[in-house]
Symmetry: C2
C-alpha cells in the first residue's frame, strides 16, 4: 500500500485537521472532530447536515458552507458515523429552524441518522438519496444506493434554505431533486482502504466493474475493458431509461479518485452527446473528483433533470471549500 | 493500460471537445482545437496566454477565463504545443494591449513560445516559471523546472490585467511572483502516457521518487517509502530554505492525479505546521489536483510568499472552469 500517511490510526484525524486549517475562513471542527461545521450560522434557517463514511472526499465536508451544508459528520473510512456525531452536530448548528438530514441510502447510515433524529431535541426531517441505478440491492443497501447525486441534493436544498425555505419545504425539495437524479459508475481498478492495506477487490488488467458502488462493492457485472463510448452507451441508457424524461439537465462526470481529468472530460463528451440524442440537454456541468472512492480509477455519471426553479437554485451563490461561485 | 478512452489518437481531441462543451459559458475552442480561448475579451487588456503539453489538467485550459488566462495552447501529452498554436492564439485574443506568454521552463516550450513571439505582429512579453527546487537541471530543462507555481503566476498576473496593468507591469509582476514561489514534488507511482501504454518509469512497491517532475522525470533520488511527516520535512526544508524568508504565504498542496484528497489534506496539515515553525504562515490555501501528471500518485507542495498587493490580487474575482470566486 502506497499512501501519503503517517499511521493508519491517524489518517482521518490528520486529514480533518488539514482540511479545517486550509478552509478556516469557512469551517471549523466540532469537539473531538465529531463533525465539521460552518463557522457562522444564520439564525432561524433550517440546518442541513449530512455525513457518512470517509474516503469519498470532498463529500461531505467539502460541501459545508454558505448555500449548502451547515455540518458534515465524517465516519471512519467507509464506515457510518455514529449517532452521537449527528446528534452533537444537530445541537451545534440548529438555530431554531430545525434540521434536515441528507443521508445516502446505506443501512448503517440510515440507522444511525435515524437514531440521532429520535434523540434530537429539535425538529428533524430526513432526505434519503438513492440515485444509483446500477443495482436494486447491494452489499450495504436495501434498495438503491445513494452516490454522487447526493451533492446535487445538498446544493439545491442548501440554496433554498438560504432563500428562506422552511424545514417541510426543504424536505419536499430534497425528495424531489433526488427523484429527478440518476447515477451509475464504472471502476477500472479497486480502491485500497488504509486499514486493510490491500485492494478491496481483485480485478484483472483487462477487466472493469460496471455499475460499481462507491465503496468498491459489486455492480452489475464484471466485464472486459470497453471503450469510453461503449461505457457511455451503457451508462446513459441505464440512466436515461430510468429517468424516462427529456429536457434540461445537470450532468456531473465524477471521478472516483484515480482517474485523470483528461479522461473525465472525454467521458463528458461521450455522455453529453448520448444524452442529447435522447432529448436530454446538459445545461449545467460539473466535471472532477467530487464523490470518490479513495484511489479507485473510474468514474460515475449523474444526471439531474432541472426546471427553472432548481436551475436557479443551483446557480445561486455558494461558498464551500469545494463548490464556490457568486461569492 | 486502463484508461477511459476510445483510441489513443483521439484522446486529446475528445477531451478538449468535452471541456469546451462543459464550460461553454466561459471558453471556446480555436480552429482545429489549436487553443482554448475566452469567449469574451476585454478590449485593450493585455492578453495572457499559456500552454504546454497535455496531461497536466486542469493546467492550463482550466485557468482560461476572467481574472486569469485569455487563451491556453494544449500540446499532445507531455509534448510542447507548436509555435503556430501560440501564434494563432495570440492573434485571436490580442485586442491591442499586447500579449504575455507564461511559459513553464522546459526547452521545447521555451523555444516554441519564443518562435511564436518572433512571428507575432503585436507586442509580446514572456514570463518563464521555474519554481521547482528539486533539481537544477533535468531531462527536458536547463535550469529549474516550471511546475505548479505556474498557476499562481497566472492567477496574480491575470488579476492585475483585469485591474488595468499594462504589458510591462504584468511582465514585471509575473517575474516577481515567480521569484516568490517554490515547489517540490514526490511520486509514489509512475504515470502512464496513453501513447506509450505502459508506466513511464519503474518503481518498487516500497519506493518513491523524491523531487519528481510533472512528466515523471527523475527528481533528487529514489528512496524508500517515508511517512507523510518525513516527506513534508524534506520538502518544506527545501522550499523554505530556498525562499529564505518569513511572513505570509499561499500554500498549494497539489495532487498529481492518482492521490485521494484525504491524503492531500493530511499533507497540508504536515506542511502548514512545518512552514509555521519556520516563520511562514499559510494565509491562503489551495488543496486538490491542479497541475497533474496523468494518473501519477503523489503530490507537490508550492509556497508563494505574499504581500498586501499580491494577496489582494489573489483574492480578486476569478471565473475559470477550475478556479472561481467573487463572480
Amino acid at each position: 500500500m502506497k499512501k501519503l500517511i503517517n499511521s493508519i490510526d491517524n489518517v482521518l484525524a490528520e486529514s480533518l485537521e488539514g482540511f479545517a486549517a486550509a478552509h478556516a475562513d469557512i469551517v471549523e471542527l466540532g469537539p473531538e472532530r465529531k463533525f465539521v461545521r460552518r463557522t457562522s450560522l444564520k439564525a432561524g434557517k433550517p440546518a442541513l447536515i449530512s455525513g457518512g463514511g470517509s474516503g469519498h472526499e470532498p463529500l461531505h465536508a467539502g460541501f459545508v458552507g454558505f448555500g449548502m451544508l451547515d455540518a458534515a459528520c465524517p465516519g471512519q473510512v467507509f464506515t457510518s458515523p455514529t449517532p452521537d456525531q449527528m446528534l452533537e452536530a444537530a445541537e451545534a448548528v440548529d438555530t431554531g429552524g430545525g434540521v434536515l438530514f441528507i443521508v445516502k441510502n446505506y443501512e448503517g447510515d440510515v440507522m444511525n441518522f435515524d437514531m440521532a433524529r429520535e434523540m434530537a431535541s429539535g425538529s428533524v426531517a430526513t432526505v434519503i438519496t438513492n440515485d444509483d441505478v446500477a443495482v436494486e440491492n447491494s452489499s450495504y443497501t436495501t434498495g438503491r444506493r445513494g452516490v454522487a447525486g447526493t451533492l446535487v441534493v445538498e446544493r439545491i436544498a442548501g440554496a433554498a434554505a438560504e432563500a428562506g425555505a422552511d424545514l417541510a419545504a426543504l424536505k419536499a425539495l430534497g425528495d424531489t431533486v433526488n427523484s429527478a437524479t440518476r447515477s451509475m459508475g464504472v471502476a477500472l481498478t479497486s480502491c485500497t482502504v488504509p486499514a486493510a492495506g490491500k485492494p478491496t477487490f481483485a480485478i484483472a488488467d483487462d477487466e472493469m466493474e460496471m455499475g460499481v458502488g462507491i465503496h468498491g462493492e459489486p455492480g452489475r457485472r464484471r466485464v472486459k475493458l470497453m471503450s469510453a463510448d461503449a461505457i457511455a452507451d451503457e451508462m446513459v441508457a441505464a440512466i436515461a431509461g430510468d429517468l424516462n424524461g427529456t429536457g434540461e439537465a445537470l450532468l456531473l462526470v465524477n471521478g472516483f479518485g484515480g482517474t485523470p481529468l483528461m479522461e473525465l472530460y472525454l467521458m463528458y463528451h461521450a455522455a453529453a452527446e448520448r444524452l442529447k440524442a435522447r432529448g436530454i440537454r446538459a445545461v449545467r456541468s460539473l466535471v472532477g473528483n467530487y464523490v470518490t472512492s479513495l484511489d479507485m480509477a473510474g468514474c460515475s455519471l449523474t444526471v439531474t433533470m432541472l426546471d427553472g426553479k432548481t436551475a436557479a437554485l443551483w446557480d445561486s451563490p455558494v461558498h464551500t471549500p469545494t463548490l464556490r461561485w457568486g461569492v
